[in-house]
């Protein structure tokens, strides 16, 4: 860790001003930032602690036309909220299945969606990594890459987007609220993360000086029948090898609307319009679920150690679709 300027603004305006500083990072729960600073993989000059902006339970509002979440509430507060458990189970599950209780108690939603990749070559602080050190190359392409992505990759980067919550947000087509001294703006959550292409160091469309303040998940007939399925080597405290966020609106057994996103297999939160298109208008069946899974991974590219993720990702989606359809809602 290297010396940095620590600031703790008391209100949003002060925070907006503080984050304009050169090479500033926002500190929420610190569950990623502090780790990476201790590893010397992130070296911010200014750390802006936004914990005085945290609204607590008042930051969650499921009353009108959808679900509003402050970016400053914790994962634990969100996952335990009764309205979310009832009306947006995919969101509650994506948070509940992530990390550990200690981390969920600290980590805040804004930081959660911006969590950096777990690629060990990014985290070690010194090997070739285009994300950490643009132009230095990618040690993962032909290195240890069992956990790397098969969707949305490029020749510059195959790092997996690590989070879970973002899959629920992108599936439900959430909006994201952003603020800066220039004023607020809203974008679709799907527009927040970038593909790596040849600029993997540019992970989001946030401009310098911008801060996420909230999320809005529009209500829909599909949100109650929703599920987050996460597959991993151990039962808890591990990032997904593959995951699926699925929300279905059924007419009997026929799919009226489907919302599908994939995690653990892609370089960014990955909405699969292809899989949704296959399912809509058809009954939920083993064959149709498989067809949707085929469509979702049609463009997948494997490297030496992660080829299994294509089949695992398909199986995860098939299972998630069938289990979601079977939910009693």
């Amino acid at each position: 860790m290297r010396p940095f300027l620590y600031q703790r603004p008391a209100d949003r305006a002060a925070a907006e001003h503080a984050i304009l500083a050169e090479n500033a990072s926002i500190l929420g729960g610190g569950t990623t930032l502090l780790d990476l600073m201790k590893l010397d993989a992130m070296r911010p000059d200014v750390v802006v602690d936004i914990n005085d902006l945290a609204p607590g339970a008042a930051g969650i509002d499921a009353s009108a036309g959808g679900l509003h979440l402050s970016a400053f509430v914790t994962m634990a507060e969100t996952a335990a909220h009764p309205d979310i458990l009832r009306d947006y189970p995919v969101i509650a599950q994506s948070l509940q299945l992530a990390a550990s209780p200690q981390i969920r108690n600290m980590a805040r939603l804004g930081g959660n969606v911006l969590q950096r990749t777990r690629c060990s070559y990014f985290r070690d602080g010194w090997t070739a990594c285009n994300k950490r050190s643009p132009g230095s190359g990618c040690a993962a392409l032909d290195g240890v890459n069992r956990k790397h992505a098969v969707l949305g990759t490029s020749d510059s980067c195959i790092a997996t987007y690590p989070g879970d919550f973002a899959q629920a947000l992108v599936a439900l087509d959430a909006l994201i609220e952003i603020t800066s001294e220039r004023g607020p703006r809203n974008i679709r959550f799907a527009e927040l993360h970038r593909l790596p292409d040849d600029t993997p160091h540019l992970e989001t469309t946030l401009a310098p000086g911008e801060m996420i303040t909230g999320f809005f998940v529009p209500a829909g007939a599909w949100t109650r029948r929703s599920k987050y399925l996460k597959i991993r080597d151990r039962e808890s405290y591990e990032f997904a090898l593959a995951s699926a966020a699925v929300a279905l609106d059924l007419d009997g057994t026929v799919v009226r609307q489907a919302r599908i996103a994939l995690g653990g297999v892609a370089t960014k939160p990955w909405r699969s319009a292809e899989a949704e298109a296959v399912l809509v208008g058809k009954p939920v069946s083993e064959a149709n679920a498989h067809a949707a899974a085929e469509a979702a991974f049609a463009g997948a590219k494997a490297r030496s150690g992660n080829g299994y993720k294509i089949e695992l990702g398909r199986q995860t989606l098939v299972r998630a679709v069938i289990e979601t359809a079977a939910l009693q809602v």
Binding site: T127, A139, V144, I231, A242, Y308, E311, Q315, T316, R319
Partner: protein, 767 residues
């Protein structure tokens, strides 16, 4: 009352909570880095980013600008001021002969290349981050199959190495009706004790004190004296509590002498707290192994031929090997056995002891082969073990001091419900979950070493026991106290035990599961000296109630001296005949099979374990049987373990409570070795990539559901005076083979490489 405890007295066999438990759970137990030192400086390591080559340049300009940085140790200013440690198998005390900062040579990735000293941990860390080290890199050989490795046979690597052999395994294999030729492998694994690798050193008047968690305080003392050119009497190693070791703290690592040197250089105590990722390369690990097993049986299942070949990775510098064929060739009756072991020397740090070093990989391979043989014979795997059970060790025809393998199988099978197993793979499905049941044998050599102990009995009826043994979570404090309570008739609460200090009477390394047998026996001897003096005086003093009796018939029980005819006298009265104050017993023990000079060696920190298959007249092992149930999702194939049952026989159990804890922990470790643990190696760079506890997987609580341990009673009157067999490394042997057996039973897919990952059994991918 827990099983195995004796309700009439507290002593050997009493299920006693840890006497040090309160200290541990209230944070009062002081571990290595808890040492409170006056004005310490802090050290932070810089480790190499290459695996093979030389340091070209070290630029410390930016480091020296960091406020609080005191000094930077590199090969340029250390050199031969710290002598290289001698490798333990060459008579030294170190886990490697590689000495960093001795030259610009880099032997492995993550080797220490500089140590930054500063007023604070933070300044030292920042200084380390700002140090620029450049290298002339050569292409490294990462391990098996890499170009440029050197391969040695076991005999070439060590004069003591023997490849167990009897009969003609090759010919018998050729003519056998049922035979299998199988290959297995195990991965690199790291101990990852939760207590990090720390060292604190302070000098006073030319004497060095070291606070570092150690499984071998005498070895550390003598090894450091050698490396630093000191009189061993001027080195004091303190390690009363150890936050996990599992073999990783059995030999000196390179860091300790360097930190001691640093403290002397700057004239201040120095504390090092190495990071988790540095722990992967500055201490030892379990290297990857490969096995070829050719096993053959007649149609009734009797083994007729066994050939076990092993390959192990080690470093360029040191010929470390575990040679588990010693155990694998002696598990079952077989008239024709052969074996050999080879080491593959690569650009890696030197591996070292890790819980059940030889047995984990080698018995894994043998037990997997036994499971495959049972399938080939269409025979229940438990019955195959029964058919090949033996009373006579197959290589030299020696008898076992005791062997209760099939009792373990029968008890565990009954508790598990094994008889309701449908052996057909994939037949025991529960909805979307495939169920698999598997089993395997566990075994570990029963070892013992020379040891010494001092026991002090005060006129107030309190006892102090001193011996430089080690509390590595094994419950050593409590086992020692129970032994003294047993022999002196004193309540547990009135006994204090001092361990883990090189100023105490010497005791062996906490390795090879020898501590309980070695230490409890010698503590019983020291207590016996006290009893003998009291008893002798009692039967020879005219006014004593026991006058004229046989001293052998008197015992110290419940604070009194008692005879078999019911006479009793308070202990204080009996003591007063022989002592005006306290009484002291000091015992030294050379166990059966130990050489006469082994005791003198112990006083120099040199280890002389005996037992297992090392003796000329007999053989001594402990056994167990392990059963595992797996649930595997039919679609996504993640593997979960709802229950494990293990039954074990290990002679006299000193403390059934901590013994059970050891065995439960062992089963979980075994499960971990099968499904979770593996250190990933980037073969291009010969370096580890998953060097943290998020990516190096161990089971979390949710992965461990029911674990049942059954202690099978076993009396062994021959093995040692107290009849003790160690069991610290018994529980985790065989588990991985039981897991692979269960994977096969659930899926019909036969896996032979650890760890098992879901991709190995995914539909459409798995073979």
């Amino acid at each position: 009352m827990p099983e195995g405890s004796n309700p009439t007295r507290t002593g050997i066999g009493t299920a006693a909570p840890r006497i040090d438990g309160r200290l541990k759970v209230t944070g009062q137990a002081a571990y290595g880095s808890d040492a409170v030192l006056a004005n310490p400086a802090h050290a932070y390591l810089v480790t190499s980013t290459i695996a093979r080559g030389t340091i070209r340049d070290i630029d410390d300009t930016e480091t020296r600008k960091v406020n609080g940085v005191l000094d930077i140790l590199t090969y340029r200013n250390v050199g031969d001021r710290v002598q290289a440690g001698q490798f333990f198998s060459k008579g030294g005390y170190c886990g490697t002969s590689i000495q960093p900062l001795a030259s610009n040579h880099v032997w492995h990735a993550g080797q220490i290349v500089a140590i930054v000293l500063a007023d604070s941990f933070e300044a030292a860390r920042e200084g380390a981050f700002r140090l620029t080290v450049t290298y002339d890199e050569q292409k490294p050989s990462a391990g098996f199959d890499a170009a440029g490795v050197e391969i040695k046979t076991g005999a070439e690597a060590s004069k003591e190495h023997q490849d167990p052999k009897v009969g003609d395994a090759g010919t018998a294999y050729q003519s056998a009706p049922v035979k299998l030729d199988l290959r297995y492998s195990t991965p690199t694994q790291h101990h990852n004790p939760i207590e990090l690798f720390t060292t604190a050193c302070a000098w006073q008047g030319g004497k060095l004190t070291v606070w570092e968690s150690s499984q071998n305080v005498y070895g550390f003392r003598f090894g450091l004296a050698q490396q630093l050119g000191l009189d061993p009497d001027d080195v004091h190693v303190i390690s009363p509590f150890i936050g996990g070791a599992f073999g990783s703290r059995g030999s000196l690592t390179q860091r300790t002498a360097l930190i001691a040197y640093a403290a002397r250089l700057i004239g201040r105590p120095v504390k090092l707290d190495a990071t988790r990722d540095q722990g992967f390369t500055i201490a030892t690990y379990r290297a990857e192994t490969r096995h070829r097993i050719r096993i053959a049986a007649d149609r009734q299942g009797k083994l007729v031929s066994l050939n076990h070949e092993g390959w192990e990775v080690t470093s360029r510098a040191d010929d470390y090997m575990v040679s588990g064929t010693d155990a694998s060739t002696r598990l079952y009756a077989c008239p024709n056995v052969s074996s050999n072991v080879s080491i593959v020397k690569a650009d890696r740090s030197t591996p070292g002891f890790m819980r059940s070093p030889p047995e984990m990989p080698y018995i894994f391979a043998l037990e997997c082969a036994m499971d495959e043989l049972a399938v080939a014979l269409n025979m229940d795997p438990v019955e195959l073990r029964r058919i090949n059970d033996t009373r006579v060790e197959p290589i030299k025809g020696l008898r076992y001091t005791s062997r209760s393998l099939m009792q373990c199988f029968d008890e565990a099978a009954k508790a598990f419900g094994w008889q309701s197993r449908n052996p057909r793979p994939g037949s025991m499905r529960d909805g979307d979950w495939l169920i698999g049941w598997g089993c395997a044998t566990s075994t570990y050599p029963s070892q013992i070493a020379p040891a010494t102990a001092r026991v002090i009995l005060t006129p107030q009826g309190t006892v102090k026991v001193q011996t430089a043994a080690h509390e590595i979570g094994n419950g050593a404090y409590t086992a020692v106290a129970l032994t003294a309570a047993d022999r002196l008739g004193i309540e547990l609460e009135r006994i204090t035990v001092e361990l883990g200090d090189s100023d105490l009477p010497p005791a062996p390394v906490a390795g090879g599961s020898n501590t309980t047998a070695s230490v409890c026996n010698v503590v019983a001897m020291a207590c016996g000296q006290i009893r003998d003096r009291i008893a002798t005086a009692a039967v020879t003093t005219k006014d004593a109630p026991f006058f004229g009796q046989d001293a052998k018939g008197l015992r110290l029980v419940a604070g009194s001296l008692q005879s078999t005819d019911g006479k009793s006298e308070p202990l204080a009265d009996a003591m007063r005949r022989v002592a005006n104050g306290a009484m002291e017993g000091y015992a030294e023990n050379i166990p059966h099979g130990g050489k006469p000079d082994s005791l003198a060696k112990l006083y120099r920190g040199i280890q002389s374990l005996t037992g297992g298959a090392k003796m000329k007249d007999r053989i001594q092992f402990a056994y167990g049987a392990e059963f595992v149930e797996l649930r595997i999702n039919a679609r996504t194939r993640e593997i979960r373990c709802p229950r494990m049952v293990g039954a074990f026989a290990a002679g006299q159990i000193v403390n059934p409570l901590t013994a059970k804890s050891q065995l439960v922990g062992g089963l979980i470790w075994g499960l971990s070795s099968a499904l979770h643990e593996a250190t990933d190696i980037d073969r291009r760079a010969a370096r580890f990539t998953n060097d943290d506890l998020a990516e190096y997987l161990i089971p979390v609580n949710a992965d461990v559901d029911q674990v049942e341990v059954i202690m099978v009673p076993e009396e062994d009157h021959e093995i040692n005076e107290l009849g003790i067999k160690g069991l610290g490394e018994l529980g985790n042997v065989g588990t991985a083979a039981a897991v692979l057996s269960a994977v096969y039973h659930a899926t019909g897919i036969r896996l032979r490489d650890l760890p098992v990952r879901l991709e190995h059994i995914l539909p459409g991918i798995a073979a």
